[in-house]
Subunit: 123 residues, 2 copies
DNA sequence: ACAATTACGCACCTTTTGGTGCCTATGAGT
DNA sequence: ACTCATAGGCACCAAAAGGTGCGTAATTGT
């Protein structure tokens, strides 16, 4: 327990990894790095996410101290989400990943095409 | 299509993100960054992974050009996996994430405890 | 008076993910 | 002659992820 190691499945670092290795967390945290956002704004910004997954992921991130939820206690509801310091430090690493994905998605596409073509052309 | 954006669910960068936002890819790629490895070595190094998931993930990574599979064509089989240049550039970002997880898993644990305690203590 | 808005909760259902056990082939060790 | 190790494939099954539709409470706009 002294030296957390992600390769050890019993280590809590593994749990941490699973939390952040989520498609939605990888988008929500970087989205919040620009500043606090409301539910509806996140819903608009992150294409393809459902209300359910947004709420669920935000709650999970809040529970783990990465996101801070601020409920204005008004009706109709006004709730803002922002990064904690911890969340902010993580989102830097996630932004790097997102950028990598944006920059290299073309390479992946090309590799996939090559691979699949090779498979059908036989030996 | 000119500017790939991960927030756009129809963009191929999103597919790229989903590929790398996988628990196992996040461990396999960094593991390979130390040098080529055999199936059995990876199985030993990465605690908790099953043979099935290892094979499956490696195949997916190979298909997308991140990992190169080198089959020695011997019996008993000897197969080595190593990172491509593309895979290597990605693994740097992943290693940063793994390290974050190792360094901050304690913070996450603490936050979770606090959160859950608050929930049970009532209003 | 009536609809829309906001940020969800809940239940139901489908899809995906992942685990397990069983199978292959051959050469090396006993 | 027999077993072990290697790198998987394949089929079956359990579990988890995720989508959709419905309800909610009060206030603002028409």
């Amino acid at each position: 327990m002294a030296e957390p190691n992600v390769y050890d499945s019993t280590c809590s670092a593994r749990d941490a990894l699973e939390l952040i290795a989520s498609k939605w967390a990888m988008l929500i945290l970087p989205a919040l790095s620009a500043g606090p956002m409301r539910n509806s704004a996140l819903l608009r910004k992150i294409g393809g996410i459902s209300q359910k997954m947004l709420t669920q992921t935000l709650k999970d991130l809040e529970r783990n101290g990465l996101v801070i939820r601020h409920d204005m206690q008004t009706v109709p509801p006004h709730v803002e989400y922002r990064l904690s310091a911890l969340g902010n430090s993580l989102s830097e690493a996630l932004i790097a990943l997102d950028r990598w994905a944006e920059r290299h998605s073309g390479d992946l596409d090309a590799a996939r095409e090559r691979f699949d073509a090779g498979r059908t052309e036989g030996v």
